[in-house]
């Protein structure tokens, strides 16, 4: 019953959001595009990293692959086919990377994925300059901002739906065991490797599609633009601040942060960095378990008070998360 109500609410919300372009000006739609893009990126990131504990900085590798596929193919193939091809490339790359990185853990995995993104950027650059003899590519597709927005909104819904399904399925259960203890997980017969790779691939394909859908908005694409590492970092920060392991966590991090960035950069163009940095630090200290953690705490008033700089948060955090999961 609760699930049905949840679905109904989500469906209505997405329906209303889909109508938004009819009431907003170009800037409003632009805001929604940026926001939906980051909600999707952060949710797709959380689908893998939030559930396995493997912090990935490869986001921009897949985002860039998607964008570049559109740039390279926009004059030769019909648009829906391009999206399929982009997703296919993302899938293959993710599969290779997933298989290669099985043995890596912790910070080694983090920096490996960063190196991977840079390697792909370098290879694309080298290929373009040496083989095709150009660098920038142009995208002239008859897609208005509202079309981009609707596609992103649909992709966002799909991402959340997949995440919800994963959390419900055997896969999700397996993941929770893995995240808690890989040794135990392997002892009870969970195929850790296959589970992790499956999730990595799904997450990577979703991220590839975000890049592919957003690319027509920039008209001109070059590696420095689409493989901008900031995308990886922002995605990670948004998901972590929201609560990467929950269905709505990344969205709850992405939306307020996105609005905050926008507000700061418009009102304090000269002191944007300083204010942003200070806010980050404050947020880390005040929200030790992300936005989702805060909401859960607010919903459960009986829980012991641990707001004071969250000094005793971790133990309760663990307990609280167990409760919700169970």
């Amino acid at each position: 019953m609760k699930t049905i109500i949840g679905f109904a609410v989500a469906a209505i919300a997405f329906g209303l959001l889909a109508l938004a372009p009819f009431y907003l000006d170009a800037y409003g739609i632009g805001l929604l595009i940026g926001m939906t893009g980051y909600v999707t990126l952060a949710s797709a990131w959380g689908l893998f990293s939030g559930r396995t504990g493997y912090v990935s900085l490869a986001t921009v590798a897949f985002f860039g692959i998607g964008a570049y596929a559109v740039a390279a193919l926009n004059e030769t193939l019909p648009y829906p086919v391009i999206l399929l091809v982009a997703a296919g490339i993302g899938l293959v790359v993710a599969l290779i990377v997933g298989l290669a990185t099985l043995r890596l853990a912790g910070v080694y995995f983090v920096i490996f994925t960063f190196g991977l993104a840079e390697l792909i950027r370098q290879l694309v650059t080298w290929f373009e300059t040496t083989v095709t003899g150009t660098l920038g590519r142009y995208i002239f597709l008859p897609l208005g901002p509202e079309h981009i927005y609707w596609q992103l909104l649909a992709l966002c819904a799909v991402t959340l739906l997949i995440t919800w399904w994963v959390d419900r399925s055997r896969l999700g259960m397996a993941l929770r065991v893995i995240a808690d203890d890989e040794v135990v997980a392997s002892h009870i017969g969970i195929d850790i490797a296959r589970t992790k790779i499956a999730l990595f691939v799904i997450s990577a394909v979703l991220i590839t599609l975000v890049g592919a859908i957003q690319a027509p908005r920039w008209t001109y694409v070059e590696p420095a633009i689409v493989f901008n590492p900031t995308v990886s970092f922002l995605t990670l920060i948004m998901a972590l601040l929201g609560g990467a392991a929950r269905l709505w966590g990344p969205a709850l991090g992405a939306i307020p942060l996105f609005i905050l960035f926008e507000w700061l950069s418009a009102n304090f163009p000269n002191h944007y960095s300083i204010l942003l940095g200070l806010l980050f630090i404050v947020i880390v200290f005040l929200l030790p378990r992300g936005v989702v953690g805060l909401l859960e705490r607010l919903r459960a008033p009986s829980a012991p008070l641990d707001q004071a700089a969250g000094t005793s948060a971790p133990a309760q955090g663990k307990a609280a998360s167990q409760e919700v999961r169970g």
Binding site: Y108, G115, L116, Q122, S273
Partner: protein
Amino acid sequence: MLTTTLIAGLVLGGTYALVAMGLTIQYGIARTMNLAYGETIIAAAFGAYLIHNTLGVSPILGLVLLAPAGFAFSWIVYGLLMRPLVRRSKGGAVLEIDSILATFGLLFVIQGVMLVGFGGNYISYNYMNFGVDIFGATVAANRLLAFVLALVIGGGLYLLLTRTRWGTALRAVSVAPESAPLVGIDADRAARFGFALGGALAACGGVVVSMYQTFTASSGVIFTMKALIVVIMGGVGNLAGALSAGLILGLVETFVASYVSPGLTLAAVYLIFLAILLWRPTGLFGKARR
């Protein structure tokens, strides 16, 4: 030709190792991933630039001022920012995430302050830019200085960590922060000291780098990422690892530029990095986990 390439590669590698050593100390002992590391380097580079251009003093003398400043700054940062997080999380994955977020914030703060103070322009000056002949290869004196400094700092710290009581304590904290207090080591103090020491090394790196490399207020990230690559490739917290990883990357870059194509240098660097991690998942000198 071969010796020239070899020497050029080693010297370049030395400059990479130099900027990575502070980070490996910070990560190894204090166990916090410091994303604002590169900003410390750039701040010191700005310091050296000011000392050279406005005071007309040699940037090398600036080291006397800037290295302690880097130490003090990192000492304060650890006390204010990292220690509460360490205490709150009691180590582990939570601390990893918290330190990423907090130092990401710090990165923006330092960068923002430098932007307000110096603007976003490219900064460059010439110092010690003359050739030194080594086995028939000409090397820029300022880069050679970086190379020598990397060896001296690397060797000195290695002796410090392995030959002194106090170094043993630092290493104990890096291996087992939970058990170090059992043998009477103040883990918190040791971590703080390690973090500050890393800051001092970053400052040294920044001073030397500023002599031959153009920088802007926003270039810190580049140094952080390069340093992270070197640190991870060498094995976290391992000085010899950082030094050899730096040298390998320098050699790869120079050899690829000379014998394959300059267009593939960075691709080769990342490829080697990825390959080494696949071969040894905890870096060249890293200890296997679990």
